[in-house]
Symmetry: C2
Subunit: 306 residues, 2 copies
Amino acid sequence: MKTIRVHAPASVANLVCGFDILGMALNEPYDEMTLTLTDKREINIRHTDSFKIPEQADKNVAGAALYALLDEVKENIGFDLVVHKNILPGSGLGSSAAGSAGAVVAANILLENRFSKEDLVRFAMAGEKLASGVKHADNIAPCVYGGITLIRSIFPLDIISLDFPPLYITAVHPQIEVKTSDARQILRKEVLLKNAIRQWGNIAGLIAGFLQHDYALIGRSLEDVIIEPVRSVLIPGFHEVKSRCKEAGSLGGGISGSGPSIFMLSQDKATAKAVEAEMKAVYEREGIDYRIYVTSVNPNGVQVAQ
Amino acid sequence: MKTIRVHAPASVANLVCGFDILGMALNEPYDEMTLTLTDKREINIRHTDSFKIPEQADKNVAGAALYALLDEVKENIGFDLVVHKNILPGSGLGSSAAGSAGAVVAANILLENRFSKEDLVRFAMAGEKLASGVKHADNIAPCVYGGITLIRSIFPLDIISLDFPPLYITAVHPQIEVKTSDARQILRKEVLLKNAIRQWGNIAGLIAGFLQHDYALIGRSLEDVIIEPVRSVLIPGFHEVKSRCKEAGSLGGGISGSGPSIFMLSQDKATAKAVEAEMKAVYEREGIDYRIYVTSVNPNGVQVAQ
């Protein structure tokens, strides 16, 4: 029986102005997953964490992703998976994507890399569909490819890895629940053309900022006039956190995925730590439980545990 | 009396998916402008072309731009301007922007470069306001900066010059009239969020394609699901021209500015010439008069005539 252990990273989807098209993998937190190849066409999943996640394979995001992969495999094989989640479900830090992507990347290593990264994203999207009802790839793609990814299109799938300068991320997870499906439902189906134009100017600026390593341009482009004004009402302290963190030197930031986590980007680690102090101050005062991660961009995505 | 002669280039605004935020300067056609510094606070304009453009300075786009510049000048000076337009008004190839930008770039040289490029864009936008009722910079910016420019934001003005690989442009101007103001009025004020998402995926892809010199990505990203479906109905033969040109090897293209010109991008000159043949074939058969330009990206914008 071949076995492999992987770390599947948290990720930040949207990156403020890039709703549904941009994502970034983080070095921390990450889920720990151990996958074993078996000779029975079945998938068994066991969780060693305490999140009460369904272990029945067709109700588990990693299981759904592995089933999608098995659909493309002729041999009589299956998988035993043991998962220890460290990325809190419902945090907005790509917990379900880590599960889906981690499982299929691990499976692909056990199957001697017979599938492309694009294939793996397709399989893992079956997990995202189970989790949120929508096939989206903005957390999956950075988990599989590493770094910062652009999903230009879902149908047909078109993923582009983007170059970027050193970036530090401070992410705070206030312990309140926001479901991705709820966060989607409050969005309007139509947007003003003038706001869409402002948004695509910012997206263009953000892409140029990443590729040209222009921190000031990245900072100016981290503005969302469409999604953030609607979703930020679900997150206590959002505007105060953001403005204090920018005063502390952060380039900018916003809602991570569909929230409630808030992430801020900084040019160096000292600023990322100063940003952490501001986040702490707000949620301590408000008496809201929180977790904070100070980390950097994970250039590799899911990787074999050392 | 100091005098200078400049060439003010045509430009392609929008670049398919980048409505109001992207523009590209062309090597041909260009307007010829001769500007003389005078010691009277007045602006005199004379046209040697046959386009019946108003020569009264406050009704002429170049005049409006020069007045905006003079507002920032304390000395008792003025300008005599002689214009020979080669860029047809109403072509969608940035005719008014060439006039506005050419005048203020020339004036700035006569004034020993006291103004920044950003200042010059601001002055020239007064000309665009006169021409179309809207202060936009997507033709002005590439005329002033050269090459391909991103206008991330108009208020505050934020212009970014983008790197790009060698590109050839074939632009056909079917001789029908589409006024910029009419072309704006037929646009809906609201757009579907799902279309906006598809559009900003394409914009992000196009920016990455330019900066990474990835021709295939540029081609895939040249898709407009918001403006083109509405405006293309004003342009006879639009869909046939586009599909034939793509079959002939063009990377893609669409409406230049607000039309009626259609531009196509190609990786090499031979393809750009093959594209020209397809355009000719369509408009010859339809019996519509046309002009075609086969040219490349002008990296300099307005420049002193040799």
